[in-house]
Amino acid sequence: MMTSSERIGDVVLDVQDLRTYFVTRWGVVKAVDGVDFQLRKGETLGIVGESGSGKSVTALSIMRLVPSPPGHIVGGKVLLEGQDILELSDGEMENVRGSRIGMVLQDPMTALNPVFDIEDQVGEALRIHKDLTGETLETEVIDMLRKVRIPAPEIRMKDYPHQLSGGMRQRVVGAIGISCDPAVLIADEPTTSLDATIQAQYLRLLRELQELTGVGIIFITHDFGIVAKMCDRVAVMYAGKIVEQGDVRQIFNNPSHPYTEALIQSVPKMEVREERLYSIPGQPPALWELPQGCSFADRCRHTHDKCLEAYPDVFDVGDGQVSACWLREKETVSAKS
């Protein structure tokens, strides 16, 4: 396996102050409210957070697939290889989707259409984005399937999804995801958990695809285990904002936001048996009635006066690790608000 420094290159995706709001009958839901992050070539960034924290809306905003109404991207920039894709026309964006940014779903059954054979489904993506037809298209399809290690691809491409094993179906979905050599691949993990052995297969496949193409991957998950296994960097979301972001080892060893620390402590470990798990009291706040100060204040072990007055600035705690917590104000390298 490649080391991370060999694998990781220039910034391919630069998300700046992204804001996506939904107008609902309860009020304005600030589902994504000032999100900043960067993704490099060959890098895997984990976006982790609880249900409703805004992970999927972040992904949908980058793909420009936010259902509208009720949703609107109200601010920010999404620079894909330097170009702000929020400025593109719908037609131009259509082209970017699937060719420069791909999306893979973890459940291969819902991602493949049961009535078309594999050749049709892999070919479809190539036909649209690379404008291939006839024999060239067929050769390319076979090539793609071989890349994801489907045995005897010229025969198996005539199969329908139900004729393939679960692992092979995952590989086909992976082949479609990378067929146009995208710069960014977004994997949004559904909340329902897969069996551990199937999940391990899927994670291995994503790794292989990345080594093959150098694609930057955004992995959206609830699970710190996935982050530990797959990611180079991680962004922790809470109530529509990134509360902490940094190198994966630093975040695990030295979390600089109380929410991150508490989350890591509240997950049981398979390697040791704990006497008592830490549990975070309460539950995440409703997004349409956020408190004035820090949105984690009513569950935090370190809440103090300042926390109730204003939402914390984002503090740089060193080595690219940033934290939106007032506790970091003194030890900080620099602050931006």
């Binding site: 249900s51 551990a196 999940q199 291995r204 609830h222 285990g225 390697e271 008592r276």
Partner: protein
């Protein structure tokens, strides 16, 4: 806490199941010619000691929920017996009192807190229902008890008047626990009680279950596929594959010394709790086979990285390579 229980070998067995089988008839045809049997559970034995937590783990479809349903008497076993507090199934079945006693002593909490509560009933009535059906308590006594139960699981008395949709997922699971506690059961079957919940809420519910166990000496059968949850909660664990228990041991022994190749593969696939932990990945080839047509010999042989000559043709028998640690594999 549970660590004490694990070393306390003297406690009594509360529930013992032996040779439990459930074969579903599927497919049909004229004159029953295409009758097929799906062996969801195919000869399961285990024993749960009073005050302990027994874990059942295994991949989707291996028969965990079906086993639980038979214990809850929601599904009639095709074969096999059980013994509860020393009374066998036949004795329990013949006596109305014992049957009623069994039904109130064995309760359940299911995975999906959204689906398992009637949306049209107020939470107070949901919790009161088993008390109304199975006891002779007065209305006021029931209302008091419901209030106490709500407090016990970390909710408020006044919340009895609300409907399930007015609660979050974690709170609904608390309501499910309150309802299961209503009849002062001895055994609670927990079928994936936290897997539908958010990470921060999971720890709350697991700790609530641990506290209630300590307070009331409850016995749990915990079904989970998340190995770390099992390690945290259980005293003893059985690993199921295609309707059978292929390995069983006290929790610490199982995690420190997994013997069956399937158990090892499951553990190697489990996600690490820190980026520095790199496990050797055991790659399972082949598909999870169908319980309609299980492989001959050892059920696991088509996927087993350690298979050798006898595996394909001969069904392995149970051995005890370490005391209190059983495994069904030709390697031992």
């Amino acid at each position: 806490m549970t660590t004490e229980n694990a070393t306390n070998g003297s406690s009594e067995s509360l529930l013992a199941v032996r040779g439990l089988k459930k074969h579903f008839q599927v497919g049909s045809g004229l004159f029953g010619r295409n009758k097929l049997f799906l062996k969801a559970v195919d000869g399961v034995d285990f024993e749960i000691k009073e005050g302990e937590t027994y874990g059942l783990v295994g991949e989707s479809g291996c028969g965990k929920t079906t086993t639980a349903k038979m214990i809850l008497r929601l599904e009639e076993p095709t074969e096999g017996t059980f013994e509860f507090e020393g009374n066998d199934a036949e004795t329990v079945g013949k006596s109305k009192d014992l049957t009623r006693n069994y039904k109130s002593n064995v309760q359940a909490v299911f995975q999906d807190p959204w689906a398992s509560l009637n949306p049209r009933m107020r939470v107070g009535s949901i919790i009161a229902e088993p008390l109304e059906v199975s006891t002779v308590m007065t209305k006021t006594d029931i209302a008091d008890k419901v209030g106490d139960l709500l407090v016990e699981v970390g909710l408020q008395k006044a919340q009895a008047n609300l409907f399930p949709h007015e609660f979050s997922g974690g709170q609904r699971q608390r309501i499910g626990v309150a309802r299961a506690l209503a009849l002062n059961p001895k055994l609670i079957v927990l079928d994936e009680p936290v897997s539908a919940l958010d990470v921060s809420i999971r720890a709350q519910i697991m700790n609530l279950l641990e506290d209630l166990q300590d307070e009331y000496g409850l016995t749990y059968l915990l079904i989970a596929h998340h190995l770390a949850t099992v390690r945290y909660m259980c005293d003893k664990v059985g690993v199921m594959y295609l309707g059978r228990i292929v390995e069983e041991a006290p929790t610490e022994e199982l995690f420190d010394n997994p013997l069956h190749p399937y158990t090892r593969a499951l553990m190697s696939a489990a996600l690490p709790s820190h980026p520095d932990i790199e496990r050797e990945e055991i790659i399972l080839t082949g598909e999870v086979p169908s319980p309609l047509d299980p492989p001959r010999g050892c059920h696991f042989h088509p996927r087993c990285p350690s298979r050798f000559e006898p595996c394909e043709g001969t069904v392995p028998v149970e051995t005890h390579p370490v005391p209190d640690h059983r495994v069904v594999c030709h390697l031992y």
